[in-house]
Each structure stands twice: as C-alpha cells, then as structure tokens.
C-alpha cells in the first residue's frame, strides 16, 4: 500500500523587541547569565507583568502578512506547570483568544511549484529561562547532579504559529518554514535563527493510505534545530510509522525527540503522561482590545510579501527559481533589484548583475550591495548602455568596478572617457587592418584552414580598440578580409 504523510507544524519565534514581553529588561540574545533580569522576569513575590505593546503589534503584523483574521478582542492566559527555568511556574500565553486566527502561508519548492498551508492561529507568549544540567551525561535533567539557570531569556516575547495539517512531505515542511522565516525577516519581527533558538519548531506527523481522508495517529517531533534536521527528522519519522503500520501495527500518540547523531526519533513521553496545564485567564493582565484603525493602518503599510515577489520575478522577468529565491531571501537585495528594474534595468540582466558581479564585490569588500556606492539607478543606466550596445560586456564589468569604487554615473564615465563601443565599419576596419598586418603567421594559419584562430584575432582587434570595437562587427570584417 502507498502511504502519504500528514504534517502540521508548530513553531516558536522570538520577537525582536526592545524590551521583554512583560517587563522593561532589554531583549538581547546572550550576555552574562542573569544580568538582564528584574523582579518581574525573575517572578519575585509581588511583581506584576505589563504587556509589551510592540510585541502585540508585531504579532498582528505577522498575522496580517498571512491574511489572518485579527479579532477585536484577545487575552492572555496562564499555562500552569512546574519547571525550574520557568520563574513563575506558569507561562503567560494565549489559550482560546489568540491575537491572530486563520490565514494562509503560500510557499514554493525547489522546482518552483507553489503550495499553500493554512494557519490555525498565531499567539503571543513568553519564553522561559535556560537550564544547563550538569552531571547527567546527556544534558538532561534526569540524573543530573545540579543545574545552572540563566533567566536572561525568561520573559522574551515568543510568537507561536500553529499550522493546519496541510503539509505532505519533509520537503514541503522545510518550504513552509522557509516561507515563515523569509516573511518574519522581511517584517523585521525576528532574526529567525534556529541556531540561536530564535526559531524553534515541532512537527506533528502521521501517515495514512493515499486517497484516505481520515487522519492517522500523530506523533509530535521535538528537538529539531535546523531546517536540515527538520527534513531528516520528518523523513525518518514517516519511514518509522510506515514500518509500524504496514505489517498491521499501530502508531502510538506520543512526543518523540529527534536524535541528530542517530538520525532517528525516540519516544519522550506518551499521551497519558501529558500535562494538565490548567489554563485560565491571567488576572494580572487586562484583556487586549485591538483598535481597528491600528489594524487598518498596519495592513496598509504591509509591503510585498516574499511569495508575491517570487512569483513576480518568475512571471514578469522570467528569473529561474534559484535566482528568484536568492533575491527574495535577502529583502534589501530584492528591494535594490526592484529599484533597479523600476529605473529601467531589464529584469534578467539586473538579476545577473546583482547576484553576480555586485554580490561578488560585496563579498570581497564586506559591504552589502544596497549600501554600496552603486545606486540602483546607476546599475539600470549601465544595463541600458549594454542593451543599446553602447558598451560591450567587458567594458560593463570594468565600469561596474569603477562605479563600486565611487565612480558615479556610468553614462558620464563612458562619455568622459570615450568608452562607447564603436560600430562604425570604417573605424573598426582600421583596427582590423592593423591586426592583419601585425600577425601574418596567424593570418596564414587561418587561410590554411585553422579557423579557430579567429577568436584570437577578434581579441586583438578589441585590444587595439581598447575594448570599444563592436566584437560582432570585428568578426565579420575579419572574415571578409581573410576570406
């Protein structure tokens, strides 16, 4: 029997706000342990939370980006469970009235096909501190001799995005996560770095016979800390479940951890051991009334989303998947590209320059393209010069380097230094004659049938003309002369 996977993703994204979710402590990654703490985020007796408006607005923007509904009313709830790095022994989260409901994430795969995954909700909560368990061998709390606690991260705003089970493969799961990442980076709400823990995700995986509409029993996969491990973990879990189900076995509902080294998932806890979180509305926080005019304003300020950009690049400029993805992945680069195209630089040419020569210069000089002295309008001008055959591509490369080093407008450079390509047959013919006269042996070889020396001769014409001769014309004239 053929099986298909049914996958839903839950991911936690640390928001990039100035201060923590419920206190004025700075929201910064790392730092000396327990240096970014106060009575509120340490949950000292008597301290009270006050919600961070910036974080609430960021979640609303994230919701709007995916077309989610932003309810007029939302609230915070307490999720109660004991853990040493959770100072209050409850987490302030959102249970039944999240800030954003529904929405659709559109994403693409490596072959360029686009997919959709519905979102269930996006809600706001707070992060825990960090535990370092010592003496247990495997870094886990069981059997550890002692634990070190760092509360710098406690209270950092955390946005949780929950998807519907619309994903059908590991590749789609990664495509979905990449779409979230791109969107959040573009919105500026998070750094979305899995290695720093600013993006963490769990996957709910089940399988069913192809064609079936029912859902199988799911396992929740945790501990995946890169897109690659998400891919591998899901592949491995699908294979495991098929191996259980195919001979007639049953998948247990449980939480499984991904083991990067072993390349497999292992059982962490079963459904029976699941917590009863005793959610209830947090009486320390007043309900959130979301101002409709604020939502309307945020919606109107929403820029082009990555998927829209991707499709535009593909459809309007015919860019390949790789080039379109590369541009979209760096919003500033995409904006640079858009400005260049807007100023008249042809799409494919602009992409070639931006991702080719300019990106290489950027790497070499450690200066982002969008901060370089090559304004997108200047690049468009350069492309115009190439397309009108005013200069050839060799000159264009040289010019670009000079522009990068502060040379200014390419048109001015071309005019000032007389670099325009010449297609005047009389002028080019002079160069051709000179070259023919200077290389009698090569000419003889050509006449004897070694036509592959033509490239050399054209090159000599270009050299003689200091790059200005139209190479196609030079080739034609040479062929006539030697024919």
């Amino acid at each position: 029997m053929q099986y298909e996977a049914v996958i839903g993703i839950e991911c936690h994204v640390e928001l990039k706000t100035k201060s923590k979710m419920f206190c004025a402590c700075p929201n910064r990654f790392g730092g000396e342990p327990n240096a970014q703490v106060c009575p509120v985020c340490l949950a000292l007796p008597g301290a009270l939370p006050v919600a961070n408006e910036e974080a609430i607005l960021q979640v609303i923007r994230a919701g709007l980006a995916f077309g989610a509904e932003i309810p007029a009313f939302s609230k915070f709830d307490r999720k109660n469970y004991f853990y040493p790095d959770m100072p209050k022994d409850y987490q302030i989260s959102q249970y039944d009235m999240p800030l954003a409901q529904g929405g659709i994430v559109r994403y693409w795969l490596e072959d360029g096909t686009t997919k959709e995954c519905r979102l269930t909700r996006i809600h706001l909560e707070e992060d825990t501190g960090k535990s370092t368990h010592a003496g247990s061998g495997d870094g886990r709390i069981a059997h550890s001799r002692y634990s070190l606690l760092d509360f710098n991260r406690a209270g950092v705003p955390l946005m949780e995005c929950v998807s519907e089970p619309d994903i059908r493969s590991a590749e789609e799961a990664v495509g979905f996560l990449e779409a979230l990442k791109r969107t959040f980076v573009q919105l500026g709400v998070s750094d979305v770095k899995m290695e720093e823990g600013s993006l963490r995700c769990d996957a709910n995986v089940s399988i069913r016979p192809v064609g079936s509409k029912d859902f199988g029993t799911k396992a929740e996969i945790k501990n995946m800390n890169s897109f690659r491990s998400v891919y591998r973990a899901i592949e491995s879990e699908i294979a495991r479940q098929i191996a259980v189900v195919a001979p007639g076995g049953r998948v247990m509902q449980e939480t499984r951890g991904w083991d990067e080294l072993a390349g497999t998932t292992h059982s962490m806890r079963s459904k029976e051991e699941a917590h009863d979180y005793r959610y209830f509305p947090d009486p320390d926080l007043v309900p959130i009334e979301v101002d409709r005019t604020v939502v309307a304003r945020l919606r109107s300020l929403m820029a082009d989303l990555p998927i829209a950009r991707f499709e535009r690049y593909r459809e309007s400029y015919g860019l390949g998947v790789a080039q379109a993805t590369q541009l979209v992945d760096t919003p500033q680069l995409a904006e640079y590209f858009d400005s260049c195209v807007g100023a008249g630089g042809g799409g494919q040419q602009a992409a070639n320059f931006v991702l080719g020569d300019l990106s290489r210069l950027a790497n070499e000089t450690q200066t982002p393209v969008w901060e370089s002295s090559v304004a997108p309008q200047d690049l468009a001008e350069l492309i115009g010069l190439v397309e009108s055959k005013t200069i050839n591509s060799k000159i264009a490369k040289d010019l670009l380097l000079r522009m990068w080093n502060g040379g200014g407008s390419p048109k001015a450079l071309v005019e000032h230094e007389g670099l325009a390509q010449t297609s005047d047959p009389g002028a080019v013919e002079r160069f051709v004659d000179e070259v023919v006269a200077a290389h009698p042996k090569v000419v003889a070889d050509y006449k004897a049938g070694k036509t592959n020396v033509m490239g050399f001769l054209v090159g000599q014409v270009m050299k003689q003309s200091r790059g200005k001769a139209n190479p196609a014309l030079a080739g034609e004239l040479l062929a006539q002369k030697l024919g």
Binding site: P45, A47, P87
Partner: protein, 492 residues
C-alpha cells in the same frame, strides 16, 4: 504611653508640617510604644527601628526644606505581604521567613514618599488566607481589646498595631474581607477601595482579581488621608485604573441628608442573635437619624458568595503560589531530584490552610472540572456585579454587618468552614470589586466574658464611589463616637 501616640494621623502630620514636633520625635514615641507592648501583643513580625529613624530624619529634612507632606511623620504598620526594599517580607509563611525584598511596593512607596514612617512589618494569616491571624506560621497576634481573643485577619497585625497605638495607620490588603473584618474586631476603620484603585505592584498575590490594598485607621479621616496618598494609576500594574482620584479627606461630611442607604434583605441580622441584631438595628436607625433614607434592597446571589469566592480565590492562588518552589528564593528543602525538592519545599513551607486552598484551586482548574467550577464561579461573579448594580439604582450606599460576630477566642473556629463564614458579609463586595469599609458601631459582650468587644458596620458604595463612602462613614463616626467608648486595655 506617650500622648503623641494617641494623636490621629491627621494631627501628627499637621504638627510635623507646622514644625511643632519632629518626625523623629513621633517615630521615637512609636518605637517606644512598640517596645513596651508588642511583646504581649505580637502585632509585628519585624520591627524597623533603624529604617524608621532614617526615614524620620529624611522627612524632617524635607519639612525643613519647606515641603508639605500629607503624612509627615505618621508611623505606619506595613502588612508583611507588601515589599519594602531591604526588609524581611514573609507573608506570614515559613516559605519566605528569611526573604528580604529587593524592591518596594508602589502603595508603600507612595505612603513613604508622603512622609509616612515605616515602623514595622505586621503579622498576617499566611499568604493572607484566614480571618484570625492564627494561620500565621511566624507568630501569634492578640486582640488589644482582649488578649485572649484574635485580632481578626488576615490583616490582623496591622489592625492590632493601630488599635494599640503602635502605629497611626496600618496598611492592609483585602481579598474577601481581610481589612474590614480585623478593623471590626479591633474597633478601627478599615477601608477597601474599589478593585484597581490602589496598585498591587509589590503586594504578594493571594488572589489577583480580588486583592486590594487599603488603610486601617482609628478614624475615617485618617483612613481617607492614607487612601488619598496611595490611590491612583501605576504603570507597573496593568489592572490599576487610570482614572482621576478625587481627594476624600477634604470631602468628609457630618450628615447623611439625601443619602439613600440600602439594607440588604438577604443580610438579615436576626440569625446573629438578639444582641447583635439589635446593635445593627440601632446602627441603621442612627444612619436614618443623620438624614439618610433607609431602603430595602435585594441581593439574590448573596447565599452563593462563599461558594463563588472559594473557587475563584483558590484557583488564582494555586497558580500565584506556584513560584514558591525552592528554586530561586525562600525556603528550599533538598531532595533526590527536582521533583522531590519541589514536594519537600512546599510540604514544609506552606501551612495547612494554604495547602487546602492550593488543592481546591488546582482541582477547580483541572481539565474536566474547569467548566463546572471555575467557569461557573466566574458567571456567578458577573451576576454579583449585576445584582449590586441593580441594588444601587435604588440606593447610594449599602449598610450591613462587617463580620458575623465580635473577635473570637483563639482556636474557637477550628473547622475551616466556620472561619470562612466570618467573611459572609464582606465577600459579595469583594466579588463585585466595590469599595467598602468597616466603621465601629458599638460593642457586644461575648458569652462568658466581661470585656465588651467592638463590632463593625460595613458600608459599601458603587464602583469608584470612595469619596461618597468615606464622607458618609465620617458622618456616622462623628455622630456616634463608638470607638472612644472603650480603650484597648489589654495593650496599655
């Protein structure tokens, strides 16, 4: 006892501001009184001699520099569930026996900034759970009117301190009656403002949606003075209300003309026995004599007050008290692993009443019971608000007993339910968030005792009706002068 300690807070502030007496002299008198009587009384868990003298020095300097401070030099007893930087803040619990607060509660800070002198941290029922102070794990507080009786609770230490002239103002917190009941037991005015009027920042939470800080004082005027200083929006407490605070101390009245006072049908006093019944009938007649019109009002939800309260308050406390886990501060009892450490710490750190409420609350919030208990209780709570709203269409204030009996003897209420019943009259107002106070209304002779024990009249007003409430209480107090008819001999 120095005569200074018999002065009202208002008079102390007037004299200190006028330069007739220094804050330092008042403070020394208060500390002397504490040293003289508190060994017998046990109002304070921590005496703050050094801090008090330093604070007094600062106040004197400010007065000298020309400042006018509304509570200049007024000695204040701070309930030990309010943080005061650098002082031990125990909540009456072994859990926090050695914990020194690194920050100061907003309400305390406002009082101190207005010139008040913190002379001690007052005893209380553990985590404010109780009505007699007997649930304190750290000390026994006696009623200054009869040392064989309880001072009430949970703000019993603050009440005893003010009644025994060990402070002029007591800071209390009231969740279901914890200011009003001890005020009634100790012949004081005890005032719980509207929920949200006074910041809870730095008040160690029992039940967040009900907790409210307020003053205990020997007169309505003093209570009003303290309230005026502590009330107002605090950016550190999102449940504090952003609404202008009209000063109450300057709006006190001497009559009740035009005031309609509601008497709640369901709060009938016959069941409290003939002596208490006639005491309250007399009190209501006194209100009428002052110009008030008495009207009968109904509170059909009244009998569900205790049940509602004892679901919501424990539910919130089960979560609020989770943080006392031995990890970061307070008591830690080590175990084989972190789970056992939690269990041992909480088993040793919390007393039986606290554990009972954590269990009730955990149960009420559990999956499968949440709708039947917590959600239903919230619905009932909404109903309380609606019922009061309807009642206040027919009256301006509601009058009732503050407690079901006078102060009782130690160990007299051994089963929890009879203790809970003490708050029968105060809980409905707490559920509705209303401002309410207790004002002395006479004495009764408890069975087998020759010492008359004070009783309190509860007056409640619509939300944010503090000024009208205090004005009316002042009229009643001035006309009756009940508090002056007995002295707290036990502590003098």
């Amino acid at each position: 006892m120095s005569e200074t300690m018999e002065l009202s807070a208002a008079e102390i502030a007037r004299r200190v501001n006028a330069g007739d007496i220094s804050a330092r002299e008042v403070t020394d008198a208060a500390l002397a009184q504490i040293d003289a009587v508190d060994g017998r009384l046990g109002a304070y868990l921590t005496r703050l001699h050094d801090l008090a003298r330093v604070s007094a020095g600062r106040v004197d300097a400010r007065i000298k520099a020309g400042e006018h401070l509304p509570l200049a030099g007024v000695p204040v007893a701070v309930k030990d569930n309010m943080c005061l930087a650098g002082t031990r803040t125990t909540c009456g619990s072994k859990m926090l026996e050695g914990w020194v607060a690194p920050y100061t509660a907003t309400a305390v800070a406002r009082l101190l900034d207005a010139g008040a002198i913190p002379v001690g941290k007052a005893n209380m029922d553990e985590f404010a759970m109780g009505s007699s102070c007997e649930n304190s794990a750290l000390g026994k507080t006696r009623n200054p009117y009869d040392l064989g009786r309880v001072p009430g609770g949970s703000s019993g230490g603050s009440a005893a301190a003010v009644a025994a002239y060990e402070a002029a103002i007591g800071m209390g917190s009231d969740t279901g009656g914890s200011i009003r009941e001890p005020a009634a037991f100790c012949n004081l005015v005890g005032f719980k403002p509207t929920y949200g009027r006074v910041s809870r920042y730095g008040l160690i939470a029992f039940a967040s949606s009900l907790d409210q800080i307020g003053p205990l004082a020997r007169s309505v005027e003093d209570a009003a003075l303290a309230y005026d200083v502590m009330a107002g929006k605090d950016p550190m407490d999102s449940t504090s209300v952003d609404r202008p605070v009209e000063p109450a101390a300057t709006a006190l009245r001497s009559d009740l003309r035009g005031v309609r006072v509601g008497i709640v049908k369901e709060f009938g006093t016959q069941r409290l026995g003939p002596e208490i019944d006639s005491l309250y009938r007399r009190a209501y007649l006194d209100l009428e004599r002052l110009g008030a019109t008495l009207v009968d009002v109904e509170l059909p939800t009244a009998e569900y007050g205790l049940a509602t309260y004892y679901l919501i308050a424990p539910a919130e406390c089960s979560s609020n008290l989770a943080r006392f886990d031995g990890v970061r501060y307070g008591l830690r009892v080590d175990g084989e692993d972190v789970g056992q450490m939690y269990e041992r710490t909480r088993a040793e750190g919390f007393g039986p009443e606290v554990k009972r409420r954590i269990l009730i609350g955990t149960y009420a919030l559990s999956s499968g019971y949440y709708d039947a208990y917590y959600v239903k209780a919230q619905k009932a709570r909404t109903k309380f608000g609606a019922d009061f709203k309807r009642a206040f269409e027919r009256c301006d204030l509601i009058a009732s007993p503050a407690a079901s009996s006078p102060a009782f003897a130690f160990h007299a209420k051994s089963d929890p339910y009879s203790m809970y019943m003490m708050d029968y009259y105060t809980i409905p107002m707490s559920l509705a968030g209303l401002p309410a106070l207790s004002v002395p209304c006479g004495y009764v002779l408890p069975e087998g005792s020759s010492r008359p024990m004070p009783m309190g009249l509860q007056l409640a007003a619509p939300l944010f009706g503090e000024v009208q409430l205090l004005a009316a209480a002042n009229a009643y107090e001035c006309a009756t002068q009940h508090a002056r008819q007995q002295r707290p001999e036990g502590a003098l």
